[in-house]
Structure formats: structure tokens, C-alpha cells
């Protein structure tokens, strides 16, 4: 009698697959349900944003940044504005800085809410997705009230912000913060202690801190592994040094920790927004730019803490109206490259959970 032979087989997970959050393609080598090797294939969402920037004037690049990271478009606007301001030595009015912080933190909350819902959905619980989007809706309403846009804001401009907040913004924002604080018990009751949820996420996809650092992971993924690193605290930009907030970290770096990490970060962001609203100064919202904005020759790199991790922008100028080179750093790329390390030797269902808790969005990978 001959022994039954089993074969490894290849599965193309993506580019069209419900849980790759966009057009990511993972080539999986599988032994039955078990994933043996992963090879990420990128480039399906490449739109040459960096190259297009070279043919545009500096202010014209801002809308492209919204497309670079559309889940937290405010952060992408912010990192580009910071780079160009550093290059040109522009002084940003304090009110504009505060508005930027409020908007970026609101956007971070919105992004984490999407993460919360989508991760739950990837692990099979459909309802949290709608709950997450319900709270996000209030944030999006605030953005719409401020700049008229709900996804790609084009709000944070070089030298300041595009327009001042309307008078009803502050009370509505405070109402949202109050509501959000009361929602955490719902969130925690629905998933945090659910035995199925714990079985699906605890000890799954453990990312060791040294691996995370070696692969350039940042943001919640790095902090969930226990490394206390946050650009807002370690390399303060804008007015973040004026706020009192904690950098939450977790211990084990598994999927559950990455999930909890984001909920903790929402709480810290709420604290920052509360302080910013309390201390919001009066004054201008934008520095005066010359009609033909020409930063001096030179190169500059700016970095911020976006919802996904460290986001960077490198700009080189030759003194003309157009940048010579714009290079963007998105942390999703590093996190995607972690998948072949973290995601192997687990079942395909775990792979989905790990991919979801990495919170990868594809435009940030492909640009």
C-alpha cells in the first residue's frame, strides 16, 4: 500500500480578496489550512504620487498627499506641510498649530475606529464595524463642517490651515468627546473579554520587539510589542510638547495587544483634543505666502506620528516653484514586510487576524 501523499499548494490571496483591505496580493504557500510561506506582492495601487509632485508647484502637492494616506489624510497633509515649512523657514501661527493638532488627533481616532471595526469583521464579528463607523461619522461631520470634505480634506496647507473652524465646531467637538468616552464600555463589552475573541487573538502573530525594530516597524504595532516610541514624544513637532498625554504600550506584541493598543491610543488622543480645545488661542490661521512660493535651495526631512506609525516626507528644492524630489515614507510598507515573518506557521484564519491588526492600508505602501 502506498502512503497518501499531501502536497503544498499556492493560493493567491488577493489582489481582490475581502480581507486584504485594498489591492494587496499575498502569495501563500499552504499545507492544507496551514500557511508555510508568504510573499507580499505590491504595486497594484501605485499612482506615482511622488513623481507627479515633481511637476507641480508646492501648494499644488497638498491634495496629492490626501491620496497618499486616505484614512488619515490630515496626517499626510501635515507631514508635507511640516517639510515645506522647515525648508522655507515659515513661522506657523499658533492657532493654526492647535487646529492642526485637533484635526490630526480627530483623524487618528477616526482611523482607529475603522481599524477596530474592520479587525472585528475580519475575525467574523460583523456588528462592531457598524458601531465603529457610527462614531467615526461624528468626526467626519466635524471635518465636513470645517473644510467641506469628508475623506480627502486638503485642510492643512503650507503655512497653516485652509480656513478657520466655524463657531459651532467647539461645542460639537466637545459633545463628541463626551460621547466617545461613554462608548468605551460598549466596545470593551462587545469584544475585549469575549472568549472566542481571546482565543482568536491571544498569542497569535507575536511580534518580538527586536524584530519590530529591525524591520522599522513604528506606531501602534511597535508599541504593542512593548517599545515605548512615539514621534510625538521623542521628536516633538508642532505643539505636541505643550500637551500632557501618555504613550500606552503593551507587553506581548500579539494580535490582541495590537488591538487593545489602538483603543488605548484613542483615549490619549481624546485627552490631547480636550487640552487643545481648552487652550485654543485666537489669531491668524495661516502665514502669508508669496504668490509664487519658492523655498530656498536645500533638502529636508520631516516626520510625524500618523495613526499607523511614523510617517515621513523628504523634500528637495532647487529654489524654483516645483520640488525636485518628494519622497514619502509610509509605515504600512514596513508592516507589510513583517507579514512573512509574523504570519507564517499559522492557519489562514490567523493570517487574516494578523493582517488586520497590522492595520495596513495599500496606498501608503504603493504611493
Amino acid at each position: 500500500m502506498t502512503r497518501l501523499r499531501t502536497e503544498e499548494f499556492l493560493v493567491n490571496m488577493g489582489p481582490h480578496h475581502p480581507s486584504t483591505h485594498g489591492v494587496c496580493r499575498l502569495i501563500l504557500t499552504m499545507d492544507g489550512e496551514k500557511v508555510i510561506a508568504i510573499e507580499p506582492v505590491i504595486g497594484y495601487l501605485h499612482r506615482a504620487i511622488e513623481k507627479i509632485c515633481e511637476n507641480r508647484t508646492y501648494p499644488m502637492c497638498t491634495p496629492l498627499m490626501d491620496r497618499f494616506e486616505y484614512v488619515t489624510a490630515m496626517a499626510a497633509d501635515h507631514v508635507y506641510a511640516l517639510a515645506v515649512e522647515k525648508l522655507a523657514g515659515l513661522e506657523v501661527p499658533e492657532r493654526a498649530e492647535y487646529l492642526r493638532v485637533i484635526m490630526v488627533e480627530l483623524n487618528r481616532i477616526a482611523s482607529h475606529l475603522i481599524f477596530w471595526g474592520v479587525t472585528a469583521m475580519d475575525i467574523g464579528a460583523y456588528t462592531p464595524f457598524l458601531y465603529g463607523l457610527r462614531e467615526r461619522e461624528d468626526i467626519v461631520d466635524l471635518f465636513e463642517m470645517t473644510c467641506g470634505q469628508r475623506l480627502t480634506y486638503n485642510y492643512i496647507r503650507i503655512g497653516g490651515v485652509s480656513q478657520d473652524i466655524p463657531p459651532e465646531f467647539v461645542p460639537q467637538c466637545r459633545a463628541f468627546i463626551k460621547k466617545m468616552w461613554s462608548k468605551f464600555s460598549d466596545y470593551e463589552g462587545l469584544l475585549n473579554e469575549n472568549p472566542i475573541w481571546l482565543a482568536r487573538t491571544k498569542g497569535i502573530g507575536v511580534l518580538k520587539p527586536e524584530t519590530a525594530i529591525a524591520y522599522g516597524a513604528s506606531g501602534p504595532v511597535l508599541r504593542a510589542s512593548g517599545v515605548k516610541y512615539d514621534v510625538r514624544r521623542d521628536d516633538p513637532y508642532s505643539v505636541y510638547d505643550k500637551f500632557d498625554f501618555d504613550i500606552p504600550t503593551q507587553k506581548s506584541g500579539d494580535s490582541y495587544d495590537r488591538f487593545i493598543q489602538r483603543i488605548d491610543e484613542i483615549k490619549e488622543s481624546l485627552k490631547i483634543i480636550e487640552q487643545a480645545l481648552d487652550n485654543l488661542p485666537e489669531g491668524d490661521i495661516r502665514a502669508k505666502l508669496k504668490p509664487k512660493f519658492k523655498p530656498p535651495e536645500g533638502e529636508v526631512y520631516s516626520r510625524i506620528e500618523s495613526a499607523r506609525g511614523e510617517m515621513g516626507c523628504y523634500v528637495r528644492s532647487d529654489g524654483t516653484v516645483k520640488p525636485v524630489r518628494v519622497k514619502l515614507r509610509g509605515s504600512s510598507f514596513n508592516h507589510l514586510m513583517l507579514m512573512p515573518i509574523v504570519g507564517v506557521d499559522c492557519l489562514i484564519a490567523d493570517l487574516v487576524a494578523i493582517f488586520a491588526t497590522m492595520d495596513i492600508i495599500m496606498p501608503e505602501v504603493d504611493r
Binding site: V11, E33, G124, L130, L190, N194
Partner: protein, 356 residues
């Protein structure tokens, strides 16, 4: 072979006049029975198809309200004929058949699935005397035919020639076969107590106040809970919906099906959900027994309550992983149900029940 006249209870009048018509037409005896059974079959099939359409709508409404939205609202009052329109849409859709499919298996999979879903209703007591055939091995028959579904899922997985579909088919085979064991053993506790496999006998033994098996502490509630858990797995629903886990296998076994073939899988899923709920009603919730209201209304109400419970599970819980699912069945449910079976035997033998 006798005519199934007496078995149809409250529909007695209608079927009696049909029978008289056949006699007056001078139809010979075997054909009389054939026509009568066909009429019964069409009735049951029609009612259940309508019920399945209703369940689809109901699930969408429940999901909507759990998720703080409305669900279907556009077609009719609160979207009541949304599923009818969906079925019409699916009828018009192109039947996409990939070239690399296994032609025979691919074609027959939805048919087998659809037919298997309805087979159990031959012995289902919808009300007092409202039953197609009161087989003396009723519940054994139900257990046997509900397992047909797994064959169709395997067929769909194999015939589609798609890796995701194959994974889904294999998962469903493993899952349904595993959960069949605790399901049958938890029903066995009740069968052991009643001493009959007939569905009617089981229901009749539960007549009277608080005589339902779910109230018969200790073994009744335990069997009910283990049965309900296995039933959710049997019906392939969250948290045990791994055969069609959307986020892992895209759609699992039915990934390559479109149009009406997909609709058949879809409707069969809802009929299966109703089947497992109806069995729970018959065996644990006293079947048609209940005061004041007509018996079929009690049966329907209790079954819909069970269906509602399954829907609540689906829209609240995350999904288990395939190995955790197996561990749960073999390491937890099977020992518990066997222990419960022994407990039921002891209770019966010593006559400890407070209801005696």
C-alpha cells in the same frame, strides 16, 4: 401504502375533498396515494420556501436593528418583499460556469443541497396531527437526511475546481461530521427518556405544564444547550461559519456559483436553520404543546424564537478558528453529551424526575 389522510390534521378537510375527487375520478389505489403525497409535498415545499424567503428578510431586519440601521426599507412596507425581488434578480442573472469545473458534480451540488434541506420536513410535526408521515424512526430519519447537506457542500467544493471552494468544502465536511456526534448524543438523552424515536411520541410526552424537556432538570437543559451549540455548527452559522468564512475563503464552497444556483444554496441555508430550530422545538421546547393558541402557531412561534436566537449569535460573535472548532467539538461537547446521556439514564432508571 395507505393514503396519508389522517395525518394532516387541520388541513384535513382540504385533503379529504381532494381524496374524494380522486376516488370519484376512478383512479386506482396506488395512484391515489401518489397524488396525495405529491399534493402534500407541494404544500410543505411551498410553505417552507415562503418561510425561507421570510427568514432572509427577517435576518436582514434583525441585523439592521442590531447594527443601528434599518435594514431593507424600500420595497414594500419595511421592505417586506425585498427577498422576493432579490430572488427575481438572481433568476435573471447569468449562470457563470467556469470551464475547468467538474460538469456533473458542479451541476448537481446545489440541487442536492436544496433537496436535502427539505427532506427533514417529511416527519416534522407542525401541529397536533399536522404531519406528513409519522415514521416510527422519525428522529433517526431526520438526523440521517440533514447530513446530506454536507455531501452537497463537498460536491460544490470539489466541482468548482477552486482552491478557496475546496478549502470550504473540506472544512464543512470536517465540521458537520464532527458536530453530528454531540448533536445526536444530546438528542439521545431525550430519546432514551421517551423510549421512542417517533417525533409525535416525543412531543406527546411533553404535554402539560412545565413538562418540556428544557425544564426537566438536570439533563434536559444541558442537552438543550449542547444541542443548540451543535445546531449552530450544523447550520454553518457564526460563530461556526468557517466553511464560508468570507474574510478567509472569500465565500467558501459557493464562490463559483452565481444566479439561481447560488440562490439555491442561499435558500437551503435558511431552510437548514429552520430545520435545526424545528428539531429543537420538537425535542426540547414541547413541540406543538401550549395553551389557548392553535398547535401549529405554538410550533411556529417556538421555532421562530430559536431562529431568532441563532440570528442573535450570528450578529454578535466573532468566528472560531478551524482547529479551535474541532477541539471544542471533540474535547468538550462530546464528553459532556455522553455524560449527560448517562445522567438521563440514571434519572430515568431511578425515577428521580420531579415531573414523574
Amino acid at each position: 401504502m395507505s393514503t396519508p389522510l389522517l395525518a394532516v390534521g387541520e388541513l384535513h378537510g382540504v385533503f379529504k375533498s381532494l381524496h374524494e375527487l380522486l376516488v370519484s375520478l376512478g383512479l386506482p389505489q396506488p395512484w391515489q396515494s401518489v397524488v396525495m403525497y405529491a399534493a402534500l409535498g407541494v404544500t410543505v415545499f411551498g410553505v417552507l420556501s415562503l418561510l425561507a424567503l421570510f427568514l432572509v428578510w427577517w435576518e436582514r431586519k434583525i441585523a439592521g436593528h442590531i447594527q443601528q440601521r434599518f435594514g431593507p426599507m424600500r420595497v414594500g412596507w419595511h421592505g417586506w418583499y425585498q427577498t422576493v425581488m432579490d430572488a427575481l434578480k438572481l433568476l435573471q442573472k447569468e449562470d457563470v460556469r467556469i470551464d475547468t469545473r467538474d460538469r456533473v458534480v458542479f451541476f448537481w451540488a446545489p440541487v442536492v443541497c436544496f433537496v436535502a434541506a427539505f427532506l427533514a420536513y417529511v416527519v416534522m410535526p407542525f401541529g397536533n396531527g399536522l404531519i406528513v408521515a409519522d415514521l416510527n424512526i422519525g428522529i433517526l430519519y431526520v438526523m440521517a437526511v440533514t447530513t446530506f447537506t454536507v455531501i452537497s457542500l463537498l460536491m460544490a467544493g470539489w466541482g468548482s475546481n477552486n482552491k478557496y471552494a475546496l478549502l470550504g468544502g473540506m472544512r464543512s465536511a470536517a465540521q458537520v461530521v464532527s458536530y453530528e456526534v454531540p448533536m445526536v448524543v444530546s438528542l439521545l438523552a431525550v430519546i432514551l427518556y421517551v423510549g421512542s424515536l417517533s417525533m409525535v411520541d416525543i412531543v406527546e410526552s411533553q404535554s402539560g405544564w412545565f413538562n418540556w424537556f428544557i425544564f426537566r432538570v438536570p439533563f434536559g437543559p444541558i442537552a438543550f444547550v449542547t444541542y443548540t451549540i451543535s445546531a449552530v455548527a450544523e447550520a454553518n452559522r457564526t460563530p461556526f461559519d468557517i466553511p464560508e468564512a468570507e474574510q478567509e475563503l472569500v465565500a467558501g464552497y459557493n464562490i463559483e456559483y452565481s444566479g439561481m444556483k447560488f440562490a439555491m444554496f442561499f435558500l437551503a441555508e435558511f431552510v437548514n436553520m429552520f430545520t435545526v430550530s424545528a428539531i429543537a422545538t420538537t425535542v426540547f421546547l414541547g413541540g406543538w404543546n401550549g395553551p389557548w393558541l392553535p398547535s401549529w402557531l405554538w410550533f411556529l412561534g417556538k421555532t421562530l424564537f430559536m431562529v431568532f436566537l441563532l440570528m442573535l449569535f450570528r450578529w454578535t460573535y466573532p468566528r472560531l478558528r478551524v482547529d479551535q472548532l474541532m477541539e471544542f467539538a471533540w474535547k468538550f461537547l462530546v464528553p459532556v453529551t455522553f455524560a449527560n446521556l448517562i445522567l438521563a439514564g440514571i434519572v430515568k432508571h431511578l425515577g428521580w424526575g420531579w415531573w414523574e
